[in-house]
Point group: C2
Chain length 248, copies 2
Amino acid sequence: MQQYFVEGRAEKLITITDKDTVKHMFSVMRLAEGDEVVLVFEDGIKHLARVVSSSQHQLEMVQELRDDVELPVQVTIASGFPKGDKLDLITQKVTELGAYAIWAFPADWSVVRWDGKKLAKKEEKLTKIALGAAEQSKRNLVPQVSLFEKEEDFIAQLSHFDKIFVAYEETAKAGELSTLARELSTVVTDQKILFIFGPEGGISPKEIETFEQAGGIQVGLGPRILRTETAPFYALSSISYALELTKR
Amino acid sequence: MQQYFVEGRAEKLITITDKDTVKHMFSVMRLAEGDEVVLVFEDGIKHLARVVSSSQHQLEMVQELRDDVELPVQVTIASGFPKGDKLDLITQKVTELGAYAIWAFPADWSVVRWDGKKLAKKEEKLTKIALGAAEQSKRNLVPQVSLFEKEEDFIAQLSHFDKIFVAYEETAKAGELSTLARELSTVVTDQKILFIFGPEGGISPKEIETFEQAGGIQVGLGPRILRTETAPFYALSSISYALELTKR
């Protein structure tokens, strides 16, 4: 069943005001009176809702759904600005794979430089991609997308996390394969995890030092060299496997 | 260091004959006498090699490398033909993530129909993508790409596998989250695993029945709905995490 994210809280009768949502519901999907959809409100709770008036864009709540598909921990993915449209792919896929937030920052070895208007436009595009992917994968929330114009602003956020993982190619090369598994066995529900990925050129030694000082733990993601956009897929899949599929 | 796959076996002195490899080595990378690269032969063993003559495309072996980055099991990914260029993305990413072979077949609910010339052209393109991704991720082998023109030819292959997993959305919805983890705890080194994924429309009940009769086990890949191209990333990442990153 089609799912939509709606601002505010669930009430008996609600009117859809967001233009894109209205367009998708009543022009694209041509919802008519009596049709049912799932609405997810800002509290992350899903409701089965029924169209009362397609011309007034009104729906009534039928029942609250217990469906909660969020990871037991909040995982923020932070990528050093990668080339081209790779952030589009990263945003879509990590949303499907359960990311809580999607951040990107100008890393020392990022080739692209986005700022001002371009950055805002990019962030807007990625936010739309995240919304679409969150609806499609039936998430309870839309990952928040933030592109940092300055790396120092990203670094200032590090203290807000319970655990920081740094995907480090050199670590993988050196055969450091079990740190991630060991660390994941210690996380507890609702912890805030930050997973940092470098751009194509990798993470600079200076950055590694900064992340380590903030408590960052270098982890390898298996023995194969993963592209910058593939590493976050591995990370989130592993976290899901470890925390959702494995009996602990 | 740049890595190339070379046909045949390692000998003291070898001449590169494959046109694309010659072009990349001596035109793109402009390798000169004394430059070193890694060559991987058909046995999967990597060798450090040094250019002896760039005009003759000759290299000498310096030493055998112990580097083996292959998964401990052979995982074949089999996707029902998905729409558009999704197989390109699947091929690149599952090669990075360690797939042994990449198959696709016309599933009951595949929208696209590829046959004859078009299928052969597609297979050729995907084979090149797999080669590029295998070099980039420093694999010991290039995954074999096979596109089946008839689903029955794919089904005829099922008996060659030790274990068959079927990614089944309905299973995930019903909260079946631990089968994959339980089954992965029983696999042993070098086993042949087949992981089947449906196209966008999913796997038909008839197909599910066929796969089950062949020993296929339905597994959920976490509670979120993954797109057809994302599910294989989750599957391979989980297999790597379970078999390479977790102490067993």
